[in-house]
Structures are given as C-alpha cells and as structure tokens.
C-alpha cells in the first residue's frame, strides 16, 4: 500500500468528481425539493403525499410485493442452491451459467414474454379454457399476480447466485456432520445451513428487495395503470401532472426503503450468533 496522497487523489478524483457532479448533486437537489415546498424547510410534502389514499395503496403494494418476491425467491433459492451445490463441479458451472444468463438479457424482452404467457389469449388461459377449469379467460395480466411473477423471474437469479456462493463456502462436511449427529433435513437447514449462509441471504435479499422496489419495466408492462407501484407512480406523476414534489417524496421513500432493508437484513443476520457457553 502506497501512501502518496497527491498521486492517489489524481487517480481517483476524476471518477469521484464525475459521480458527484452527475449523480450526487442533482439527486441531492431533487431529494431536497420535497423539504423546501412552500419556501421554507418542512416535511409537509410527506404528509400531503401520504394523505392521498392512492399513494398509500401504492406504497403498501410496493412494500408487499417487495417482501413477497424476496421471501419466495429466498425459499426457492435455498432449495435450488442446495441442489446446484450438490452437482459435480462441471455441471454446477453449466447450471450456474444458465441461472446467470437471464441477467444479461434485456428486461424488456424478459418481461414481454409474460404477456404471451399470461395474456387473455396466452398460454395459461388457453390451458384453463382447454381443461375446462373456467369458461371465460381469467384475468392475470394487469394484476398484482402478474407483476409478482414478472419480478420473481427477473430477480430470483440474484438470490440463487448469492446463496450458491454462500453454500459453496460452507465448511466441508458440516452438513454430513449434522446428519450423523442425528439431525433431520429441517434441523440441518435451521441449525447449520441457515446460520452459516446468512450473509449470502442478506446480499441476495437486499438485491432482490431493492430490485423489486425500483423495477420500472415489470410494473409498467405487466401491471399497467391498474397496478401502480412507486416507480410507475413517480413516472406518472411527472409526465401527467408535472408533479415534481411527489417525485421527490417517492425518490426519498425508495432510497430509505432500500437502505432500511439492507440494515434490517444485516441485523437479522448478525443476531443470535454463537450459543450458550
């Protein structure tokens, strides 16, 4: 490690100044806007925002979908990661590649596929009609279910990746040792796997939750105007009503939610470490 300050600053400053000028300053001004409504510093804009029933609905819906997507992807993620880690190294690499692959593909393309699957004449409805479960097509598109499915598909790979890396770092034979000592699979999960992969769960959980909160494309395509989420609401407020105050409030809410999710998950992960001596 070298300590030459001038050299170090010369190398790092262009990037830092650029990020500050393009990101921090404009975003900072935008965030402060809600506190400066009416010429003085106040939090009135927040009260105003939350007094609208629509805004409340959208806020809680966003929170609910974020939590739900995170929880479901954690459950599926653990099962999938456990199976993937159990594969031979060669196959593990291949399957891992297939899990990562969707992340590289345009989210528009990824989300658009669900229109074909969930639409009025989509695959699911054809199956429902064909099997005689219902006489009329079921409305799936433009419901919370559709948004949930779209978000789950979009962000689950992040959870699986985090959990696979965490599980690969489990101490060798820890699971076998627990089995031999009398643990059934549920006990193995609760007493060995979960405590030892908490960090992976925190990383994956934060990525999935933050991603779900701030996704625009999925609620826009699969939810439309019927199932607004904070991000689509922000866009609508700005484009339809030039309402920059609401935009500023929503921006702050999104940032605060992402940060608190991270902090909360970290606390869960670090609590109850070790046992009674």
């Amino acid at each position: 490690m070298r300590t030459n300050r001038a050299e170090a600053l010369a190398l790092v400053l262009p990037a830092a100044l650029f990020a500050t000028a393009i990101f921090l300053v404009p975003v900072g001004i935008l965030l402060s806007e809600a506190f400066r409504s009416g010429g003085t510093w106040s939090v009135d804009a927040y009260f105003e925002f939350f007094s609208q029933p629509l805004n409340q609905t959208v806020f809680f819906r966003t929170l609910k979908l974020g939590v739900l997507v995170t929880a479901v992807s954690a459950v599926i993620g653990y099962v999938a990661a456990f199976c993937i880690v159990g594969l031979e190294p060669r196959n593990r690499g291949r399957i891992f590649g297939l899990v990562v692959l969707p992340l590289m593909i345009s989210p528009v393309a990824r989300t658009y596929a669900w229109i074909v699957i969930l639409g009025r004449t989509g695959i699911v409805n054809q199956a429902i009609l064909g099997l005689g479960i219902s006489d009329t097509p079921v409305r799936i598109l433009f419901t919370e279910t559709a948004v949930f499915i779209g978000l789950l598909q979009l962000f689950m790979p992040l959870m699986i990746i985090s959990l696979v890396s965490a599980m690969e770092n489990l101490p060798r034979d820890a699971i076998s040792a627990a089995r031999v000592l009398g643990a059934n699979w549920l006990q193995v999960f609760l007493r060995v796997i979960l405590p030892l992969t908490r960090e992976g769960l925190v990383i994956g959980g934060t990525l999935v939750f933050t991603g779900s909160l701030t996704a625009y494309i999925t609620p826009a395509i699969l939810g439309g105007a019927k199932v607004l989420m904070l991000e689509t609401l922000l866009y609508q407020r700005v484009t339809v009503a030039n309402d920059f105050l609401s935009a500023s409030v929503i921006a702050m809410i999104l940032i605060v939610m992402s940060f608190s999710a991270n902090v909360l998950l970290k606390r869960v992960a670090t609590s109850r470490r070790g046992g009674t001596p």
């Binding site: 262009p14 099962v79 899990v99």
Partner: protein, 259 residues
C-alpha cells in the same frame, strides 16, 4: 424417489421458470399471424424482417449502441485509474470516495434520470443525447471500478516494483506489467458495462426527446401502441445478441471469474 432425481427436477423447474419464457417468445416471434399468440399461427420469419423495417428501431438501436460502447469506454477511462488507486494506495477519505463512485448502483435509476433532466438538461440547455451519455457513463462506472479492482487484487503489486528496478518509469511499469495482466478484467468490465448500459431503462425514461430514444424505451413505447409480434422478434434477437456476447466472453475470457 431418488435424491439425485429430486434435485434434478428442482433444477429443471427453476430453470424452466427462469429461461422458459424465452422459448415462448421465440416461438411467438416465429408466428405468421398478425397478433401475438401462442402457439404461433403458422411459421414465418416475417416479423424478424419487419423489425428491421421499423425506422425508429433502427435509430434507437444506433443510439443504444453508441451509449453502450462510448459510455462504457468513458467509464473505463475514469474507472481504471480509480480502481488502481483503490487497490494500490491508502486513499485519504477512502470510504467517502468509494461511496461516491458506488452511488449510481444504490440510487434508483429513474431518480437519476429525472434529476439530470431537471437540473442539467432544462436549466443548462444540455442536449438529451449528452445527458444520456453522461448518465450511462456514471451508471457503468461502479461496475468498471469493481471488476477492474477485482482483477488488480489478484495481481501481485510487487511486479511493478520489479519493473521499476529494472529501469521502467512508473507509468511504463504500469503499461508493461500491470495493463497486460488486467486486460481480461478490463474486457470483462467492458462487456458487463455494455450489457448493463444497453439494457438500461429507468435512467433513460425521462431522458428522451424528439427522435432521441434508447432502444428499450422505444420498445416500451411500441408495446403500448401495437400488439404485433415484432417486439417479440426484436426481444428474441436482443436475447441472442446478449447470449452470444456473454457466451463468447465466458468461452474466451472466463468472464465469471471477474463478476
């Protein structure tokens, strides 16, 4: 049922959920009919051809390509020295600097786009294209720093000292010993940055003007107007493009080592 088979079934179902929709979209794009449907009505490549005839797609594809290539290059120009500083120096206010560089990952893209529109484009009169370029550069910057820093961390710092002792200048030592060894990392960062920028939507949402739209935004707009399979065809083409790039990168560079 045998444990191996249970595990294979789980993996298959998970992958079916994650990747299955692409096969659906490819099938839908191969349809001969006029509206989006599955199973496709007849087989035809007409929508794949139709995509190229949509004028706005050609323009927005060009813009997205430009942003992805030059935005990422600009990010590397800023990011490689920063990554070098982060891994080789004790930086004053290191944590603050790191935060500033990483900020674009943390802040939701839509907010960034809106902020740029309100405080750069409107008051200064900056063109939307320039704002898009700056936004995409900043967006890719954290990835560039992280990936290049990761490959610098895998490189022993003393090879540079050895080169200096053998008569190189400081910059010469960097160019002759460090750069050749982190070429893979830089290329990986470029690909990751390219894909991130090319697929980016929220940042670009507010940053569009007459005739200036990135491809994903254009696709979103097109979806709202029409229901024909051309977007499916375009999605399939883009998917193949991404898969091809990533596959080639993995094959020749081992991209996954850097990400």
């Amino acid at each position: 049922m045998n444990r191996t088979w249970t595990s294979r079934l789980v993996i298959f179902l998970t992958l079916a959920f994650l990747i299955g929709p692409f096969f659906v979209i490819i099938a839908a794009a191969l349809s001969g009919g006029n509206s989006l449907a599955f199973p496709p009505q007849g087989f035809s490549l007409r929508w794949f051809i139709a995509v190229f005839e949509v004028k706005s797609f050609r323009a927005s594809f060009g813009l997205s390509m430009f942003l992805a290539v030059f935005g990422t290059l600009a990010a590397l120009l800023l990011g490689v020295p920063a990554a070098y500083a982060v891994t080789r120096y004790r930086i004053p206010f290191g944590e603050a600097v790191r935060m500033a560089v990483a900020a674009p990952i943390i802040v939701p893209g839509i907010i960034v786009g809106l902020a740029l529109l309100r405080y750069l484009v409107v008051p200064i009169g900056m063109t939307v294209t320039v704002a898009l370029f700056l936004a995409h550069t900043a967006l890719v910057l954290p990835y560039a720093v992280r990936v290049v820093a990761a490959s610098l961390e895998n490189l022993r710092p003393d090879i540079e000292e050895a080169a200096v002792l053998l008569g190189c200048t400081r910059f010469g030592a960097f160019r002759r010993t460090v750069l050749p060894n982190i070429r893979g990392g830089i290329l990986a960062a470029f690909i990751l940055g390219f894909v991130t920028s090319f697929n980016q939507v929220p940042v670009s949402l507010f940053l569009s003007g007459p005739g200036v739209r990135t491809l994903p935004i254009d696709m979103l707009a097109y979806i709202e107007m029409t229901y024909d399979p051309s977007v499916a065809a375009l999605s399939a083409l883009l998917a193949f493009l991404s898969i091809g790039i990533v596959f080639a990168a993995e094959r020749f560079l081992g991209l996954s080592r850097y990400v």
